[in-house]
């Protein structure tokens, strides 16, 4: 049985697609068969972050409408062969997706893949609801910032009431908190909510903390998911996320600001 994981947040711009891409690559590098699905119909971006935008021929909606087979639409990642991407449609409207036809596609994918990662659009409209409906697990991507935390809580409510698991009275969706764009320095200065604060408010288990990092922008510029930048803090933090998703206990890193040496203190660094 494939694990269906939705990467969601409510608020836009918090790092859903960046995280989906990193997690997809990370799991595939561990030898799992992974498919990444972009649910943001009309605003496709996962292809760009994955660096395969020029290879999109058919998309999710083509598959649903029977205009292409799954195999025609799936793009095999050039770096990791066990990873495929199902791009969103750029032109069709989001009403193209409904529970029946999305369910069928996921069922079909479940026969081949171990992990189905659903990259949710922002908001709480139909597209976001469709991305979370079939999920077994949810990675709630949150920034340490008031509107993002509030929206995440809203999404937690949706996971508990509007998902397939909720409707059928099955075991609830397993929720994970992924805190992104974290700046330990600003936390220490009292300008940013801390990990503990956010965990306290949302009260769901912490999957990872991704530090604010310049390597994230560089990674999306290049179309190389940041987890491949093994030297970067963000890349290492995503690596830890993968290990935790696979059941390992890994200590959290990058939670305290780097202490400046006496020289950089004196001369500014």
């Amino acid at each position: 049985m494939a694990r269906i994981i939705v990467v969601t947040s409510g608020k836009g711009g918090v790092g859903k697609t960046t995280s989906s891409a990193a997690i997809g690559i990370g799991l595939a590098l561990k030898g799992h068969k992974v498919v990444l699905i972009d649910f943001d119909i009309g605003l496709r971006n996962l292809d760009l972050i994955m660096g395969c935008e020029r290879r999109v021929v058919y998309d999710f909606v083509n598959v649903i409408n029977g205009e292409a087979t799954l195999n025609q639409a799936l793009i095999k990642d050039k770096r990791v062969s066990s990873l495929s991407i199902l791009p969103a449609s750029q032109t069709r409207d989001k009403d193209a997706l409904n529970k029946e036809n999305v369910g069928k596609v996921l069922e079909e994918l479940g026969k081949t893949f171990d992990y189905i990662i659903c990259d949710s659009p922002a908001g709480i409209e139909a597209g976001a609801m469709m991305a979370l409906y079939f999920a077994d697990e949810a990675i709630v991507t949150t920034n340490p910032e008031v509107s993002s935390v509030r929206d995440s809580d809203r999404i937690l409510g949706m996971l508990a009431s509007r998902s397939r698991r909720a409707e059928l009275g099955l075991e609830p969706i397993k929720e994970h908190l992924l805190l992104t764009r974290y700046s330990p320095k600003r936390v220490e200065e009292g300008e940013m909510l801390s990990v503990e604060d956010v965990v306290d408010i949302l009260s769901i288990p912490l999957l990872g903390v991704i530090p604010e990092s310049q390597s994230v922008l560089k990674a999306s510029n290049a179309g190389e998911p940041v987890i491949l930048d093994v030297e970067s803090d963000a890349g290492k933090a995503y690596q830890d996320v993968i290990d935790r998703l696979l059941g390992e206990t890994v200590e959290f890193r990058f939670l305290v600001a780097e202490k400046k040496g006496i020289f950089s203190r004196m001369f500014g660094g």
Partner: protein, 92 residues
Amino acid sequence: MALLDYFLQKKEKQVTTASKAKERLQIIVAHERNSRNKQPDYLPQLTEDILNVLRKYIKVSDESFSISLDKKDGDLNVLELNIELHDEQNTD
């Protein structure tokens, strides 16, 4: 004095924006969770109206009356009324 200001400032920073953010979030999130788990807007008025009708005929105290709207599986909503009637409340 400047040195003193420096230390005082540092101390004040402990109760700055991050803790304000946390406090505000805790309140709003708790509030929104409550209304999420709860009931539609019309329920308080409905409760009031039903009680008024009942009281035309029988004595009903607030404690012996409860109302809830539950979502069962699928699209089924169940409106549940519980009214405790006491012996002495004869309806003549």
